[in-house]
Symmetry: C2
Subunit: 335 residues, 2 copies
């Protein structure tokens, strides 16, 4: 599979995730316990990866599987980071209103770029950095609700703790992504084996979360396993399958592509969801959405198009050993 | 003078133009007839250019001055285009509300790029085209007021004639700029001589406009020359001097730089005015303004930075005769 096909699939699936989740509600409320969905998605991913691993294990040459503790112990870390991230998100929402929170979420595009550079030592050109910032600006723009008298004052007037937590949240989100990429690329182990480790710990930590939530709520709604399939509709199952599939695709991209590709996929998905919402939920399109889409498309082109395509048009190209000086010779029109 | 110094000066002067005009009002109203200002500015430019021409004429080598009718007859055309443009603007405002009108005004950035390419045969790289579109998107974004319940519906729900006229207006504005550039660069005539011709016709056409306006209004407020300095304060004179100086700078830029430089200067001026208004007129800054500024700054960098700086970071640069292929060799981090 080519990376851009995986990226495209991820965009479509992530986009339908938002729409399916909305469709799975009845009258704007969940009839099922949404907290059980990520757990089931982890189990789904674990089953799929195990089946593939089992099938591939019988073939020759044998799959590369590192099983020493020194490597295995690295695999719970992404789940732990996500767990911390969830709690930070929860704390952030105590200080920030939802629109400021949503807008600050776009910071993770920039923090991913920074951690990608710092931890994975990937170099980005000046233009690629600009593309990343533009992507963040474009997604933010598409979400700007504008200034009704009330909302304008509340935007960016929250306590400083809220912004600090928002930044921390963006860093943790980026760290989880960058760390997973490091994990998947650290050795040539089979993707299936890496996935099995990742999702085993994922399932365990998601289960632990359900247990802790039950404990905190004083078993009001009964233990989690009783709520597991309670009120599940066909759409709920589609949400589970969708979440599981996007997880598998992300895992694939982390091994064979990188975090920036993932960030582009999910950002495009966000825009696609908004466009689809215009048709499906008669969501009102804004000029901001339109401008945001233009910006993100240009960012995509700037990041992935070959540099020669971007700067190569002027007819005379003189190339120095140190720098490329591009001289245009079309002043003929002037004389 | 370097072109970027002229461009910077134009930005500062254009920006203070808006602020001076606001300051010249008392209680939100003009105490003088604003229509007389452009006429006086033309006269000011004509005087300055004549003085310079006269001084330079005495020097050796003699200035190059083409005086045959075939060349001179081209000089009223910019003023005529501006006159038509003014009338189209007036018609546009009958169909569009002021915010839609203001937002459509940014189209002239893109139309200038297109006419610059078509009429002056200047080639722009892929990246420069993207920079121009980004500039238009950035300036538009900074002006988005957002969706109060009322304003959101009215945006882009005007009659189609309004949009057609808005597009026509953007084309005429671009045409005037591009034509002036052609005029200034068509031969090696002295800038002063070209200016004298330009502003003589400019002053005549502005005067004609005042006469026609008087006629239309049935001489209600008396003939224009009686209103000429009526109610003028020191700030009004500063507005005249400012408008005249920006005109002279634009003329200089048309001869020694180009339309795109001018478009960047005036767009940056618009943003600068908005930022200064935050401090001077306690204008409320919006997230849109902030995002718009980021985008315009990146657009500026993309358009004017040397391509080597933009794409040249990856360590290995192989240059082909036909295309530049830039190969990054920093996948070491992955292994």
């Amino acid at each position: 599979m080519k990376w851009y096909i995986a990226a495209f699939l991820l965009t479509v699936l992530t986009s339908s995730e938002g729409i399916l989740t909305t469709l799975s509600q009845s009258n704007g409320k969940y009839k099922y316990d949404y907290a059980t969905v990520p757990f089931l998605a982890e189990v789904f991913k674990l089953i799929i990866s195990s089946v593939f691993l089992w099938r591939e294990c019988k073939k020759l040459p044998p799959l590369k599987m590192t099983t020493d503790w020194k490597t295995v112990r690295l695999f719970p870390i992404p789940s732990v980071i996500y767990l911390i991230h969830n709690n930070v998100q929860f704390a952030t929402l105590m200080y920030l209103d939802t629109s400021t929170y949503q807008i600050m979420g776009n910071l993770k595009i920039v923090t991913t770029g920074i951690l990608f550079r710092l931890f994975l030592k990937k170099k980005l050109s000046n233009l690629q950095w600009m593309a990343i910032i533009l992507l963040a600006v474009g997604t933010t723009m598409s979400q700007v609700k504008g200034c009704g008298e009330a909302s304008c004052d509340s935007l960016f007037s929250a306590p400083i703790q809220g912004y600090m937590l928002g930044i921390l949240s963006a860093c943790l989100s980026a760290l989880a992504g960058v760390y997973t990429e490091f994990l998947m690329k650290q050795n040539n182990d089979s993707l299936y084996w890496q996935n099995v480790q990742l999702y085993t710990f994922g399932a365990i930590l998601n289960m632990a979360r359900l247990v802790v939530d039950d404990f905190r709520a004083g078993y009001e709604k009964g233990p989690w396993w009783q709520r597991l399939f309670n009120g599940y509709s066909i759409t709920t199952w589609m949400v589970v399958l969708n979440l599981g599939s996007t997880g598998l695709l992300v895992s694939w991209l982390m091994k064979y592509a990188d975090n920036i590709v993932k960030v582009y996929s999910t950002s495009m998905a966000m825009l696609l969801t908004m466009v689809l919402s215009v048709f499906l939920f008669s969501f009102k399109p804004t000029l901001q959405l339109f401008l945001g889409i233009i910006i993100c498309m240009m960012s995509l082109h700037m990041y992935f198009a070959p540099p020669s395509m971007l700067v190569g048009l002027p007819p005379t190209v003189r190339s120095d050993p140190d720098s490329l000086v591009i001289v245009s010779d079309d002043h003929k029109a002037e004389s």
